[in-house]
């Protein structure tokens, strides 16, 4: 199949798991012989390998430091460009459809590049397209827009998505989208979870050598991800005499805040901040750690990190309700907690006290991550979705200039309606 992938960011430029997941799937689809072209925005980081299949001509109008601090685009015009319609990006996508003639257009995160218009153009063309949700994109591209603008693109009642194949990482994520948007995705979704890329062979490993449990956390260092909870739970554990453990925290993010917090809690000698690590390095770290701490926010769409940890036998402690808990079972593959300091500290204490059979749970997790939650399984599902999407709809033989004119009119109208 020829597949045109559209994503706001693409590694090496990335923020989190969404972009990394997109690249992993693109690489896997290419490895299976598909002709994949990625349309994305420029990167300010250098790729470690040539990316001839990546076209970086989209214009990204969000995710600037100022916009991220404000959590929204301030200017009405900027809001339209980021969320509703960016005429250059829409025309660019249409040109690539004309030239590349993909069997299917495969969208990832389209926030910041005028996502509504991109999807609407595909809908207008009746083109085969799929949307892979790793976050609540339909919510993000609708926020702060005038209801008239939403209706213009069919985003007020969900008709925008009528023709799409929806892939969601979790039921939780789709449910959140439907609840916040106020409509149901009539055609439902195919669920493709986060995955592990581990080799199928189970690693040999041990647990809590010399009775000292090694806790680890990795990912963005941020309050949403539970970094503060982890540090406060560690302090609480220290107060409980006789508990011996270590804690390593890896990843970028708000490190100054986290380091200060650890210092104020008197954890300087217990906690080690390891900074950003490559995937290969993290695999080794997980293999020599006993338990992975993931007290993320309840609305976590899925969470790649606990899967990657579990694949190495590192038993995750996870906030109940996070998307990944639809696949990992409490007491079998992981330990579920409420998102509180006390609940996390209690779970850590049970691990340290031998109340959790780390070896059994670790093995179950390693097996799960080599079967249902393995990349090969997920790519096969994605392949099936894309193939059935491509077959379900006949692609238009050629694009009509009217599509460009229509999208231009809609853009101009959106700007006018948003500004008034």
């Amino acid at each position: 199949m020829r597949i045109l992938v559209v994503s706001n960011l693409y590694p090496p430029m990335h923020i989190g798991g969404y972009e990394m997941g997109c690249r992993t799937l693109v690489d896997a689809l290419r490895a299976r012989g598909h002709d994949v072209r990625v349309l994305t925005s420029p990167s300010t980081r250098l790729a470690d390998q040539p990316q001839p299949h990546v076209v970086r001509t989209l214009q990204m109008t969000a995710h600037t430091p100022a916009a991220m601090r404000a959590r929204r685009s301030v200017e009405p015009g900027a809001t339209v460009l980021a969320r509703a319609s960016h005429p250059t990006n829409t025309a660019t996508m249409l040109q690539h459809i004309e030239e590349f003639e993909p069997h299917c257009v495969y969208l990832f995160n389209v926030f910041g590049i005028g996502g509504l218009a991109l999807m609407d153009a595909l809908q207008v063309l009746d083109y085969p397209w799929a949307l892979h949700l790793m976050d609540r994109v339909p919510v993000e591209v609708s926020t702060d827009l005038n209801p008239d603008v939403l209706a213009l693109f069919g985003a007020h009642d969900g008709t925008l998505y009528d023709g799409a194949s929806i892939i969601s990482m979790s039921r939780r994520l789709l449910g959140e989208v439907e609840q916040l948007c106020g409509y149901s995705v009539a055609q439902g979704a195919v669920y493709v979870p986060g995955w592990s890329t581990a080799s199928l062979e189970l690693p040999e490993r041990d647990y809590a050598p010399a009775g000292r449990v090694r806790f680890v956390a990795a990912g963005r260092v941020h309050a949403n991800k539970g970094t503060g909870l982890i540090l406060e739970a560690a302090a609480l554990m220290r107060e409980r005499a006789g508990i011996d453990f270590s804690l390593e925290i890896y990843g970028d993010g708000d490190l100054p805040w986290a380091v200060d917090l650890a210092h104020s809690l008197g954890l300087d000698d217990l906690v080690r901040f390891g900074g950003w690590r490559s995937q290969a390095e993290l695999q080794q770290i997980y293999r020599r750690s006993d338990s992975f701490l993931f007290p993320t926010w309840e609305r976590e769409p899925f969470g790649f990190a606990p899967v990657e940890a579990a694949a190495e036998g590192c038993v995750p402690i996870i906030t109940g309700g996070a998307g990944v808990t639809e696949r990992m079972v409490d007491g079998v593959h992981c330990v579920l907690i409420d998102r509180t300091v006390e609940s996390l500290a209690d779970a850590m204490q049970r691990v340290c006290g031998g109340g959790v059979d780390l070896a059994a749970m670790g093995e179950a997790g390693m097996m799960l991550c080599r079967e249902d939650l393995h990349l090969d399984t997920c790519v096969s599902t994605v392949e099936e979705v894309l193939a059935s999407t491509a077959h379900r709809r006949a692609r238009p033989e050629r694009l009509d200039w009217r599509t460009y004119a229509l999208m231009a009119l809609k853009h101009n109208l959106a700007q006018q309606l948003q500004e008034s």
Binding site: V124, D148, D157, R402, L406, A408, L409, K410, S420
Partner: protein, 364 residues
């Protein structure tokens, strides 16, 4: 063939009353008439905005009203978030008031659904998204209601362009025996607004003539101005006339005068003052001769006939009225011939057949 007519305001007492609203109703009736005559199966609906959601069938045409969902003020900015639902099943969408926000939104919605769009400018705006933004390129056809109206947007039209004057409802507007003889008074009919130039007629009115002004006042200061000018003259104002009363006046008045202007009583320039003069057409359908300003589309209404007379400015208007009072000017056509001119050129069936050809053409 299912045709959906989209209009921001409907032709009803609860909505705005003007030529634009009357036009849409006439179009639907004309198309129905022509389709019946030519045995073409046609289903029509008129979708208008601004009231409570309703759907009724009148004379075989479904009238659907959708709420105006936008916060933007003004009927020409009306937007329904449920427009898509109302267009399901339509083969052709005719967007009236196309050069407005409403028109742009309706055009975008219909085009998104892959339905061929026919556009008509009935005034109400000059939307930049449709003109400079080239939204009109999306039209499968443009129907202009006069050559004048067509000339205003000619440079923005890429595809098929038809000028179809009318349709005039010659069934409603015709003289009846019970009306009695045509009198001596002259008549002015239309919304009492500055661009209609009512003040010009009152100023030019000679003492021998009486004038009846029929129309709803939409501009109180202007009404006050006109009433001030009428002081001491034989002028009667009627603000609550229904169609039948208007018809009777058309049938019994000696002459209809329309003095629409591009420069109003306050010195303001008026754009697109008269894309199509419905009032003179309806008056002529009732056999009344007309005295018309050489403004916008008005000269087209009597082109090639002696159904009336044109005037260039206030002086020529006054001169024509003086000659009328003295009996030195009368049109060459009889009342019956004046009506025949309208039926033959602008009537329901004639215009309906041409509109039907346009709709069939865009489907081909």
């Amino acid at each position: 063939m299912t045709i959906a007519h989209l209009t921001p305001t409907s032709f009803s007492s609860s909505s705005v009353l003007g030529g634009g609203e009357r036009y849409v109703a006439n179009v639907a009736r004309a198309v129905a008439r022509a389709a019946t005559a030519d045995h073409v199966p046609v289903d029509q609906r008129i979708v208008s905005l601004g009231g409570e959601r309703s759907s009724v069938i009148v004379e075989g045409i479904r009238l659907e009203t959708l709420p105006n969902d936008t916060q933007r003020p003004g009927p020409m900015n009306a937007i329904s978030h449920h427009l898509r639902e109302a267009l399901v099943g339509a083969d052709v969408v005719h967007v009236h008031q196309s050069l407005t926000v409403f028109g742009a939104y309706a055009t975008a919605t219909a085009a998104s659904m892959g339905i061929p769009v026919v556009l008509t400018d009935l005034g109400g705006g000059a939307d930049e998204n449709m003109l400079a933004g080239r939204g009109m390129d999306l039209a499968a056809a443009v129907v202009s209601i006069s050559a004048y109206a067509g000339a205003l947007i000619g440079s923005s039209i890429m595809g098929r362009h038809e000028v179809i004057l009318g349709p005039v409802d010659t069934e409603t507007f015709h003289p009846q025996q019970a009306d009695g003889l045509r009198g001596e008074g002259i008549l002015c009919v239309g919304r009492i607004l500055p661009h209609k130039g009512v003040d010009r007629i009152v100023r030019a009115l000679p003492p021998q003539l009486s004038l009846t002004i029929i129309g709803q006042p939409y501009d109180q200061p202007y009404l006050d101005l006109v009433k001030g000018l009428a002081r001491g003259k034989d002028v009667t104002f009627v603000h609550d006339a229904d169609d039948e009363m208007v018809r009777r006046h058309y049938s019994t008045s000696a002459l209809l005068v329309q003095a629409s202007t591009t420069l109003d009583a306050y010195g303001r320039r008026v754009e697109k003052p008269e894309l199509l003069g419905f009032t003179p057409l309806e008056a002529m359908a009732c056999g009344a001769p007309v005295l018309l300003a050489k403004t916008a589309s008005l000269p087209e209404l009597i082109a090639g006939t002696d159904a009336g007379r044109l005037f260039r400015d206030d002086e020529e208007l006054a001169q024509a009225l003086r000659e009328w009072a003295q009996g030195t000017w009368r049109p060459g056509l009889s009342s019956a011939d004046v009506r025949e001119h309208v039926v033959r050129t602008f009537g329901l069936e004639v215009a309906g057949r041409r509109l039907l050809e346009v709709y069939q053409g865009v489907l081909d």
